[in-house]
Amino acid sequence: MTDARIDAAGPLPWPRLPALRWGFLLMIGLIGSMGFLVLYPLVVILINSFNEASIVHEPVYGFGAWREAFGAPGVWRALKNTVDVAVVRQLITFPLGVLIAWVLARTNIPFSRGFEFLFWISFMYPTVATVFGWMLLLDPDTGLVNSVFQSWFGTSPFNIYSFWGIIWVHVISGIDTKVMLLTPVFRRMDAAMEEASRMSGGGTFSTMMRVTLPVMTPALIVVLMLSLVRLFESFEVEYLIGAPWGFYVLSTKIVDLVRSEPPMINQAAALGSIVLMFLVVMIPLQRWLIGRRTFVTVTSQMKLKIIEIGVWRWVVAGGLMLLISMSVVVPVLSVAGGAFMTRFGFFHLPQTWTLEYWENALTNPGLISSLENTLIIAGSAALIGTVVFSLTAYVLVRTKLPGRGILDAICWLPSAVPGVLLGLGLLWMFLGTPIFRPLYGSISLLIIGSILGGVTLSTQILKANFIQLGPQLEEASRMSGAGFWRTYWRVVVPLMAQSLILTAILKFLFAARNASTVIFLSTSETRPLSVLALDQIAAGYHEEASITVFLIILLTTGLAIAARICGLNIGVRDQ
């Protein structure tokens, strides 16, 4: 259960060999279970892309699925669409994110901490709520903004069901992640590097071009890589505002194939294999880039130089305010409007506001059971995930057991695998393996999927905290005569309580808003709110959907804000 270092700490009666063997078993257990749940579904996808038989029959191997998948006319277009959307949105959000992060960290704009808080809220805000909020505003026929334009100018210029509609929602909902990752990077940069350039005779511009940007480049590349690896991740936006007019990306195409009649799961697996091959190249590249030493250096005497930008600061602050209201305020208001207004956008009706939809919804067994499902899934993911990942992180940081590198790599992988693909793999694994088949249809599948969704983030946060804690507090406990488990429960867990609660809340949030991983795994009995919302929006039940989305906002953003008020600073670090 422990390593040689801890053994040496006291004259424990245990001989060395059994102690090592215990640790070994723990390691095998962790690598085995995590590896099985993370890697096996992906392997299953790859294998079954060459399977021509249906999921419950004996496999027949061949290239049929690949031929059919890539013979279908929409697939190549879906691939192209995926790349188009990713490229255009990075071209917009990346420079904008760099600029905003620089402004927040290094200039004297007013309320910079307030803006950071708002970007944090935006980050906690579920994507489905942003998409739906803007659908209510920019629908070409019923959208509020279009109606206003129609009554003023006689034309409705906006159409959310378009390429630029998709880009708009992506930019609005994706800029927050970049800002949250890049702001600390800019804040950490030693301003003396720029000052040294000024003292050497460099003006503001040449200092920017020859020192600031080159010094920042490695960190910027890391952030760009993080988004590039998630190229295929994007799901909700295209599912809701792309699919209605036949615009598919890879993830929505996979969903489309699986949900078609008859289901074309083998073809979906063939498509998914493309993503896997992409990941085989990208993940090592990403890890190599991130593992390299970044230039951004922290020195103890570092001082942050705030750059005066004069009157511009008010202009920039105004622009940020506008952006933030687009990404948070406007969608919240429009979702709330949808949930509380008799008809959304019709302010002149005799009875503008109503609770009728809420009364219907709260007596509707479908919504109530979905709410229960979400609470069960997210709650279990938070509990189980925190226990398992705290142990994993502890083993990674504190022990010298062999195999830590493998375990660490396994924990990294899920951050790069699109949720739809992981869901597909789990579906195959549970339907295709006879002993697991009875589990299909039960909520435990959705819990497993949700736990796996946040492996990387959870272990990274906990690892950072264990590193910060330092080993001596535990060694003192061992010297006092406590064993491994007693030390873990009496010393480590109490000291880590806040980080553990924080991890649990984060896991809850991500599980509650996640639809892509569980969309294949849920049935009408186990459907969580996130999937219900997608189904309702896609079916055009906008009032009911407003209430569902409103509940999701409460369970995610609401919970995050409540936790922050209680003093828990939930956020992301650059993983």
């Binding site: 040294a196 000024r198 003292m199 050497s200 005779g201 010094v215 030493r293 250096t297 005497q301």
Partner: protein, 407 residues
């Protein structure tokens, strides 16, 4: 003031700087000569780094003016501000601030390239600068791959390569380990003397300040406490801050018996011993302010005390003490002695005669090394050495030998 250093190379007049509600500098006046090694010494937060950054142009003053070689660099009232890149000053930062994306050569070449120097000349000058700091042949290394001491030398080479008119050093030695620091300290001084550089250094380390500087300015809470040669500020502090910051003090209480120009006689209070006579040809006028009957603090640096056997002939300036404990420190012997009700620590070279606990000894306080302090108000009332000044005041003697006229 202007007649003291006739044409100061750097001149700060009433310099003020605020950061939010915090005032970092309350109207600082300083004059620095050309070719001088000048140090701003003080604890953290005293405003010394702010002063250096103001000279370099990395901060804008909220009040006052900065002149370099007669040219106005910054003036709050006249709204003049010369950007740092136009001031032609070299600076070594505390964190060295080497650019990690450039090699050593490129780091050092950067100031030259910004000045459009020809390629061949750049190569030659960079190699000269690297040779100057003892880094010949390391030009191709990546800057972060060097050791702390080497990084420090690169930073120095980068600051010197374009022949700036002065060198600004911000705690240059604080990130080095003790041995390396001693070595760099000696090299830095040799380099400054060889090149005849004007250097302004900021440090909180009194050993660095005293050993390197031609003159030291002690600062506290945004104000100048004392200005003078290292010897002067050390032996004859003029403010209680300067006295306590620079080292230990041995102090006893005395009552003024007689006060004539250049000679004050005090009777020891509470302790056994002979009368104390302070006799200094350059006694400042303040001494006359302490009339007979005033109780004052008689202070001296412990190492100025001459220890003698108790049998020392009863003459002036001897304080009687008893050895309480003695500790062997290798090169020195530490004695804890009781003088009246108080205990003091004295360090003597191990070669001197040794004393045992319980032994009675006599402490001789040389009359020209004593400073007198008011016990209530914390102002100096006597004993001014040649180059000491109250803040902003430079005694005439300091100027006589020191002025170096500009050509």
């Amino acid at each position: 003031m202007d007649n003291l250093i006739e044409r100061p190379f750097i001149e700060l007049r009433g310099l003020q700087k605020r950061f939010g509600n915090m005032t970092a500098l309350h109207g600082l006046d300083l004059q620095i000569r050309e070719g001088e090694f000048f140090t701003l010494l003080g604890p953290s937060g005293c405003g010394k780094t702010t002063s250096l950054r103001l000279i370099g142009g990395l901060e804008k003053p909220d009040g006052g003016e900065i002149f370099v070689a007669g040219q106005c660099m910054a003036s709050a009232a006249r709204r003049i501000f010369v950007n740092p890149e136009k001031r032609n000053m070299g600076m070594v930062f505390q964190s060295y601030a080497l650019w990690p994306h450039m090699t050593v050569f490129e780091n050092v070449a950067y100031p030259l390239r910004l000045r459009w120097v020809k390629k061949a000349t750049v190569r030659q000058k960079v190699e000269e600068a690297l040779a100057l700091v003892g880094l010949t042949g390391l030009g191709d290394r990546a800057a972060p791959a060097l050791s702390g001491g080497q990084q420090q030398r690169v930073a120095l080479a980068r600051a010197l390569v374009f022949s700036p008119r002065m060198l600004l050093l911000d705690e240059p030695l604080s990130n080095l380990d003790a041995l390396l620091r001693d070595e760099m300290r000696k090299e830095l001084k040799a380099l400054q003397e060889r090149l005849g550089l004007t250097v302004v250094m900021v440090t909180h380390d009194q050993v660095e300040a005293l050993s390197l500087s031609d003159r030291v300015a002690i600062m506290s809470q945004g104000r100048l406490e004392q200005l003078g040669t290292p010897e002067a500020v050390y032996h004859c502090p003029v403010t209680t801050f300067a006295r306590d910051f620079l080292g230990k003090m041995f102090a006893v209480t005395g009552v003024v018996q007689e006060n004539r120009t250049g000679r004050i006689v005090l009777r020891l209070a509470h302790v056994e011993g002979e009368n104390i006579v302070v006799e200094r040809s350059d006694m400042a006028g303040d001494a006359s302010a302490a009339p007979p009957g005033t109780t004052v603090m008689v202070a001296i640096r412990p190492e100025q005390i001459v220890v003698a056997d108790h049998s020392i002939e009863a003459r002036e300036n001897v304080v009687r003490a008893t050895v309480e404990r003695s500790h062997f420190l290798g090169d020195r012997q530490e004695y804890v002695v009781s003088v009246g009700a108080e205990r003091h620590t004295l360090l003597l070279p191990a070669t001197q005669a040794s004393y045992k606990p319980g032994e009675r000894i006599g402490l001789h306080l040389p009359s020209d090394k004593i400073t007198l302090w008011n016990t209530g108000r914390q102002t100096v009332i006597a004993a001014m050495d040649e180059a000491i000044a109250i803040p902003g005041f430079i005694p005439p003697t300091a100027a006589v030998g020191g002025v170096r006229r500009l050509a």
